[in-house]
């Protein structure tokens, strides 16, 4: 009985590998990307690419296990959700008002340590933000938001 159950689970896992993985596509950096704005300091650029861009841009670096279902379903849903909330690849397409809101959200989330999400950090330890990363990011966001309205 136990063996049958295990075999069943194994068969199911093999079968779902043939289903669509549901991973949003990745692309190279476009002209509307935030990083194309040449006022972004290099320390901020590295924080953003290291800790944010996997979910909040079209430049997702999928690890190998993301290709394995059912992990792929989970990762795909996360990335899709992240891009929907804020997609730095489409930054220049946002209105001034949306940019102000996005940067305000960013400051709140970072200050409240809600980002990056725990599930992501579990397998991306290098993406964890240090206290000084958070301070740098918040003060940059504040200045950058102001510069949009000058």
């Amino acid at each position: 009985m136990k063996r049958k159950l295990l075999l069943g689970i194994l068969a199911l896992i093999i079968l779902i590998q043939f289903m669509p993985k549901g991973l949003p596509t990745t692309s190279s950096i476009t002209t509307s990307d935030l990083l194309m704005n040449n006022t972004i300091p290099s320390n901020i650029e590295s924080i953003l690419t290291n800790s944010c861009y996997d979910c909040h841009s079209n430049n997702t670096a999928y690890p190998w296990y993301a290709q394995v279902s059912p992990v792929s379903f989970f990762v795909g849903a996360h990335v899709k959700d992240g891009r929907e909330h804020l997609n730095f690849s489409e930054w220049e397409q946002l209105s001034k008002l949306d940019k102000a809101e996005a940067l305000d959200d960013l400051m709140e989330e970072i200050e409240d340590k809600k980002m990056p999400v725990e599930a992501y950090l579990l397998l991306h330890a290098d993406s964890k933000l240090s206290a000084s990363d958070r301070i740098e990011l918040i003060s940059w966001a504040e200045e950058f938001a102001d510069s949009i309205f000058e």
């Binding site: 209105s95 008002l97 305000d104 504040e142 938001a145 102001d146 309205f149």
Partner: protein
């Protein structure tokens, strides 16, 4: 004569101070919070959304007493979010509605808040 000058000086200083402390005018944009809007804020919102609030989450999202000193970008964002939250019916919270039914804004008051917040945000963003 010198008494007159010092009196004049004191008066001018007092006027300047009073104007700058007038919290219903944003010092960076000159945007004024109309009295009727301020009254709804006081009735329904500042209990949680103010500097003195004990509700950390609410305070972190919005402190209405800072509307007067916010930079343009922050003001635009907060006004836009105020309009969205009220429109979605997310604010005031369910708990607040249950505990203080008399403080819940009327439909008309909600509309006033949404219209004012949204139009002011658009005006500031030039959109």
């Amino acid at each position: 004569m010198s008494k007159f000058i010092s009196l004049l000086f004191v008066l001018t200083t007092a006027t300047v101070l009073l104007t700058s402390f007038k919290t219903n005018i944003n010092q960076n944009t000159g945007i004024e919070i109309p009295q009727n809007i301020d009254a709804i804020f006081a009735k329904s919102c500042t209990g949680c959304h103010s500097v003195d609030s004990k509700n950390y989450k609410a305070k972190m999202k919005l402190k209405l007493d800072e509307l007067g000193s916010m930079k343009t970008s922050k003001l635009v964002s907060k006004l836009s979010k105020i309009a969205k939250e009220i429109e979605k019916g997310d604010m005031p919270t369910k708990k607040f509605r249950a505990n203080y039914p008399e403080k819940v804004p009327t439909d008309e008051e909600n509309k006033m808040l949404i219209d004012w917040a949204r139009s002011t945000a658009s005006q500031l963003a030039g959109e």
